[in-house]
Symmetry: C2
Subunit: 293 residues, 2 copies
């Protein structure tokens, strides 16, 4: 399981935390890192997250037995194209993106024969503070990681990917890329969309600032995800827009039901709809074991 | 400030916690409690929350210098009617309801000359677990309490109400009942409505259970309030339905803007809308000081 040379492409929170987690387990030899920004590379080196600050993707991945791609969405394809000719014949390549169909399409377009060594991954982990300065060895502890291997994927490398994520403390499940994107449109992208909409709707009113000053713990928790990065979430919502728009329509329909019960003064119906949600949410537990889709 | 005889009408989480808070400060003589359920009265007595378990509202409020009404919404009017003839000439009456225009209307319909001694109150405090067994002296610590005194309200009693809530650790602000209900439609009732709608929309899909098993911390926090009581929230949403329906329309419009940017593939517009929400939420702090509306 030990990694001799880990290359992290994108020295940020996600890549940096993966490197630190393997280091804390003494399961990595050398960590090579590439970021487009020389400043970021220098910071990652100074913090001891990486051992080698590389000036190109090619340099970082050369000789690596494991490559973790952890760049913003718009840099995915160019990074894959840059590394493809330099990936070793046994090198495991993974990403950490929040959407999977787009990454798989980019991989098919760029990787050629290296496609079989790519195991797309989505760790359900993060923090509101991005950047390598916030990287920590425990980020993936007790989190879920979804792997979406392809028909072409080498099964030994998929097993190695799973073993690595389990080593850093995560629980792994496997989905198809399509099932992944449909599921996360519902349970992640839609809540973000709704939180953005609600915060904008409240704040734009003439009394919005005064209303917000009165908000309590319910609003705090509901709206926490509305503070997320516009760059990251603009990309996620666009990349997965068909699924997200579908989920948004389902939510509008559920909202219309509640509104109709209110308008009709139908207390029994309104309570039944709320009770449905309340029972669902009361039964729900973080990290419940999914069956494979 | 000391209360000689406190009557709590409704021995639950809210009323019980108020009694315990004054007890912990040694600022109350006797606590009389009434609940419709004999079981609840016995529990409150056994837990030391009340000193006298009363079999009627009249018995509990007789001789009390402070009365706290903390019953479910549908019991408000009947409780006010029962206590009106028995309230002392200097007795301060408060409630703890989440909506204020309905309580004020019930008070106008029932209290007669005692109306001037009523100071409507809404403590922004609570827990997911209701009932006197969950009452605690610290419930109101560092929380906001909104008072909505009327034109008729005795100003000395409004000042006493404020002093009592400050004594138990709360920050007090004053709003009109109408401004209160408009504000809480936006920052409390709308988030609940949206959370109920989203949980129902996700769970009802054929793959809903599998999707929910994949949900992470973002979903956990966003949907926490969806676990709220159907009885309590059905009443709140119905009582304040005009304001809540108005807020829901504003949220639908904000959602439509986001959806339009996604459909058009307009990344700049989508990021601008998300950034607006992100900046608002990043600046927001729990318990920010509101200016009086």
């Amino acid at each position: 399981m030990r990694v001799e040379r880990l290359a992290i492409i994108g020295c940020g929170l996600m890549g940096g935390s993966f490197a630190l987690a393997l280091r804390s387990l003494d399961q990595v030899g050398t960590v090579a890192g590439y970021s487009a920004s020389a400043n970021t590379r220098a910071t990652a080196l100074a913090l001891g997250v990486i051992d080698e600050a590389c000036e190109s993707v090619a340099q970082a991945v050369t000789g690596a037995d494991v490559v973790l791609l952890a760049v913003p969405v718009q840099a995915t394809e160019v990074s894959l194209r840059a590394m493809a000719p330099h990936l070793g014949a046994q090198t495991l390549l993974m990403d950490v993106g929040s959407t999977k169909c787009d990454v798989v399409a980019a991989a098919r377009a760029t990787l050629g024969s290296a496609l079989s060594r790519f195991v797309p991954a989505h760790p359900i982990a993060g923090k509101e503070m991005a950047g390598v300065a916030h990287a920590e060895a425990a980020l993936y502890q007790d989190r879920q990681v979804i792997l979406t291997p392809l028909a072409e994927t080498d099964s030994a490398l998929a097993a190695r990917a799973q073993a690595l994520w389990e080593a850093v403390g995560s629980r792994v499940c496997r989905l198809s890329p399509e099932a992944h994107d449909a599921a996360f449109a519902a349970v992640s992208h839609l809540p973000h969309l709704a939180a953005f909409a609600l915060v904008n709707a409240v704040a734009r009113q003439p009394e919005g600032a005064q209303y917000l000053a009165l908000a309590g713990p319910g609003f705090r928790d509901f709206s926490r995800i509305a503070a997320s990065s516009a760059a990251v979430w603009g990309d996620i919502l666009l990349v997965n827009r068909e699924q997200v728009l579908h989920q948004s329509q389902l939510m509008r329909a559920a909202l219309a039901e509640l509104e109709a019960a209110m308008s009709a003064g139908d207390s029994a119906r309104l309570r039944a709809l709320i009770d449905e949600a309340s029972q669902t949410r009361s039964r729900w537990r973080l990290g419940g074991q999914p069956t494979d889709l």
